[in-house]
Amino acid sequence: MRYLPLNDEDRATMLVRVGAETIDDLFVDVPEEAILDGPIRDLPNHASELAVERHMASLAAENSVAGNAPFFLGAGAYRHHVPASVDHIIQRGEFLTAYTPYQPEIAQGTLQMLFEFQTQVARLFGCDVANASMYDGSTACWEAIVMARRITRRGKALLSSGLHPHYVSVCQTMARFTKDDLRVSLPDFGGATDYDALIDQIDSDTSCVVVQYPDILGRIDDMTRLAERAAEHKALLIAVVTEPVALGTIKSPGEMGADIVVGEGQSIGVGLQFGGPYVGLFGCKQKYVRQMPGRLCGETVDADGERGYVLTLSTREQHIRREKATSNICTNSGLCALAFSVHMTLLGEAGLRRLAAVNHAMAVKAAERLEQIDGISVVNDRFFNEFTVHLGRDARDIIRTLADRGILAGVSLGRLYPDAEELADGLVIAVTETVTDEDIEALATALEDILQELGTWA
């Protein structure tokens, strides 16, 4: 077997050395009834590299590749162009096959990268500090709510109706067991966010208010007043960013007063990958740093006074604090954090701003084109690179028809909110720099055709 260096001669020599007659002697502590006497029968035996590659390639061929079609899906995962050098760097064995940097003298590569990553995330979010990553945006969102509970010692969290429904689900799942009191509501098709309604709900029991920016329908809004009202009640404002490219052109949540900013970093460097692995981003104000979950990298010096980096404030973490840890997270998303950081370094401030500007311009063009279609209206007046349209009939059917015509048209609100009939004609459309004018025209033309064929919605 190509991954196993021992041969039978080695094995025989080593068995003698350890005082065993056969390999079975090393498994004597396994109860007789549980030990298998040979390979599991209904699984195939080993295969060559060529054969395995062929099998996997045939599975890959059964999927419609985003890059082969006009493509408009977002809703928490975005298709951006990732420069070739990003993938080259993350495949360097010294990054790819390293472990968590617990031995800092021989892990300065990973550690310095994490220090740079933390700084990039903190600046992008407008926060004082950021951690070395979480699993993804949805789990980071829940961790932020738990952190707010620890800080405020209150258990009621107000979730904006604009928060991604999967994120809401993750929080509701956990809250059922932790007995946190979550207030949730469905989005409506108004062009405005629900900030005013949230402000009305904040009281002395509120631990935090959670808003998404841009939200699930693509809407953006100034959260300064919301942050002020939350602070008046000693509650925290948590902002969730699922499209970090947006912060290259719109104000950061930290600038507007958010206490904790979390998000999904997939847009930068990581790619779609059918939903994972992604990278959770987590930033906050300096004063809350000891309540943060996850790993933190910090600067120090070595015995010669040379600058170096170490994992620090580890006493917050499970391997030391056990049941009193701030979180149970251990492995996070190190390599995706590297991809994010490399891509961000390639972009730089100038590149990120240009990228964001192109995204916005293409999205505006798409919205203007679709608005011309009879029976379609755009929900948002303000957006970055994602907006929602009414189609006047169930968007799920239309998406399937468009997919058959080779167009991946967006995410239907019916799939995201299966219980909300009033949202069923909503389609969320994301337009990134990977979309061309021709793609927009193809989508618009196909939609015109289909809507005409179907006539008006009964």
Binding site: S314, T315, I320, R321
Partner: protein, 123 residues
């Protein structure tokens, strides 16, 4: 003024119905360099044996228990900026918190200095 010790390596110095609590020289020696201390806020009610404070070194976090029940009057604010005081002067300037005793009879089960020294010799 009299000083008592617990088998969890806390010391308590009693003056009438008020007392000061910290960790012993042996405890700070075991911990190594202290990097952070979390002390209780004033008015916190603690029962004998309850977690009252946390002391952290780089790779360890330890709970500090209240040797007796009472009401906290103050935590040592100096430790926030200078946790190293716990290493340099554990049984003086590195104290953790002060409290008002609610049941002075609880002191009876504690060790005096000589008994604590004997106890250390057994470890």
């Amino acid at each position: 003024m009299s000083r008592y010790f617990t088998d969890e390596h806390e010391w308590i110095e009693v003056d009438g119905d008020t007392a000061t609590v910290g960790i012993t020289d042996y405890a700070q020696e075991q911990l190594g360099d202290v990097v952070f201390v979390e002390v209780p806020e004033a008015d916190k009610q603690v029962g004998k044996g309850d977690d009252a404070a946390v002391v952290e070194s780089v790779k360890a976090a330890s709970d500090v228990y209240a040797p007796v029940s009472g009401s906290v009057t103050e935590g040592n604010a100096a430790l926030a900026d200078d946790p190293a005081l716990v290493n340099s002067d554990p049984e003086g300037a590195g104290w953790f918190f002060r409290l008002t005793l609610s049941d002075p009879s609880e002191l009876e089960g504690l060790m005096d200095e000589a008994a604590y020294k004997e106890f250390l010799a057994t470890l």
